[in-house]
Symmetry: C2
Amino acid sequence: MPASAVPTPTLRRLPKYYHYLQRIHMEGQEIVSATQMAEDLGIHHTQVRKDLAATGSQGKPKVGHRVADLLASIETFLNWNTSSDACLVGAGNLGSALLGYSGFDRAGIRITAAFDAHPAKVGKKIHGVPVFPVEKLDEAIRRLHITIGILTIPADRAQHIAEVMVGAGIRAIWNFAPITLTLPEDIIVENVELYASLAIFSRKLSERAKQKA
Amino acid sequence: MPASAVPTPTLRRLPKYYHYLQRIHMEGQEIVSATQMAEDLGIHHTQVRKDLAATGSQGKPKVGHRVADLLASIETFLNWNTSSDACLVGAGNLGSALLGYSGFDRAGIRITAAFDAHPAKVGKKIHGVPVFPVEKLDEAIRRLHITIGILTIPADRAQHIAEVMVGAGIRAIWNFAPITLTLPEDIIVENVELYASLAIFSRKLSERAKQKA
DNA sequence: TAGATTGTTAATCGATTAACAATC
DNA sequence: TAGATTGTTAATCGATTAACAATC
């Protein structure tokens, strides 16, 4: 059985639920209904129910869901409760920002080494993570048995570095460069499309400008 | 006529085409077929045709599309060829990264002022953009007639700052905080869901881990 | 012309929403 | 119990893919 794959839109919504639940959990709320979540998040309540069901969580009729249970279900479902080592290539603006994000650590991705092509960056620590010369990338991946790579370099170098990563043993790449990487089928690639959101934002702005005119 | 709205997935794909076209344009390619684009980007060719048609661009049968025309069409469609002033609140890791992005400037969003709550940041310039104390936010938005706000602050302060922005005249907010903002209907809000991509990445990792086990 | 490509119309697929039975 | 809530099955909606006519 192919486990009836969870829809991608559901996966994209899970962090939204997760952060919302963390917030109300901190505020002391122990029980929440799908109805309340739906209202607060602006999502249809049936949608919320299906999404939560996908994580394996169960609620009680008339009562609702235990907030702590939902948080645990999402964590388990996304494997955010186990940790893997990752390396990051490109300690520029965006890369440094990611190194400073505590959120990824909580999400099971521990960045243990960073690499950069600029000598000025090498040898320093950024948010506690040491920066090595990019020439050492291959060797370091092999020696530390890292299987996850994060790409925060300009598009024109991304394909090459991705190939070095894969050659050294990386099995999954979280790619922030705005380019489609061509890699062996068995390598997991997930692209972060920052500009996708910008396009939607720009279009909304443009539409309103037209309305006024 | 309600202009038969362009599908959101199409909008999300446009920057992908745009960056691809920029690349081949720089390499000197003047003509490209939807077929070639589809292959290189891993998207169905009919999809590419529909998306390009949505921008108003036209190709020539047997020939293809002029790369320069496509670039211009996408720019016009997304209003990336006209520029608007924006302010950014939260000059932390992510905020600083955005201030350093030249891409937004090209996409018609010119960040003219940044604000931060930490005195250590105030008075400095980050990538050429001056950082002011967040207390000055309301006054500055009014004085400079800024209508676009970018939120790169922690979730627990996002709703409050968003309200200050709206109160001062901001009409559109690009929100990087992982929280659902509650604002008047006529305010444009576009959320950047960094964690959505992470959830998909985590799930893929988790699925492969299960396969092996 | 023949054939590659465009661009549109129809069919399929998948996600969202609606309806409703089950439960405490 | 009555009613709120869960969770599932059916209907709708919208995006993707397939089929095909138009064009140079």
